[in-house]
Symmetry: C2
Subunit: 113 residues, 2 copies
């Protein structure tokens, strides 16, 4: 069944200290708007899911497979499953939109969805 809602009107789900998410779970994939506070570090990690994303506001220095890049609005990325990545939000924080295929079941559990 189709889902429609103002995603950022949901109660945010704490993803980690300084990072809050607004997920939309589909069947094959999911969307996730993530707000990251200024200077917050997202430690290097990897998962089998493919991740695609785009910076909606602010800046984040991301590390992908050892390479560091400063990303700002409209910068997009595709991270194959298994590739280690992480980031540190810029001085004004950032909002990114992430996509995961398949659905992150750990996020579904975290969100109680």
């Amino acid at each position: 069944m189709t889902q429609i809602r103002k995603l950022t009107a949901d109660r945010p789900v704490e993803l980690a200290p300084g990072a809050r998410m607004f997920p939309l779970f589909g069947e094959a994939g999911m969307l996730n708007v993530v707000d990251v506070d200024p200077g917050t570090e997202i430690p290097l990690h990897s998962h089998p899911h493919e991740q695609l994303g785009i910076v909606l506001a602010g800046e984040i220095t991301m590390t992908f497979g050892g390479e560091q890049r400063l990303l700002g609005p409209d910068d997009a990325y595709q991270i194959p499953g298994g590739v280690e990545h992480g980031g540190r939000a810029g001085p004004a924080g950032c909002r990114v939109l992430d996509v995961f295929v398949p659905v992150r079941e750990d996020y579904r559990e975290l969100a109680g969805a």
Copy 2:
């Protein structure tokens, strides 16, 4: 291999008259930023791919499986494969971000990617 780039700096791909897209093709899924000119109609259509999306700017009246909804910034949607949908951009046009799982191979061909 990881892809990173400013998506809207790409040459836009004409999706239909009045609609231009900036796609990022992954392996399992894809992102697509779509700019729609004021009043442009996207005719009702369906596809087997799951579609998730969010309005980034402007407004669009979308029809999902017969139901009409006016969507604005941060309004998100999930459309299961096979569900008929379409839309009409508002008076200022709109920018939406769409996700398709699996990849729309017709879009990859259109983009010459």
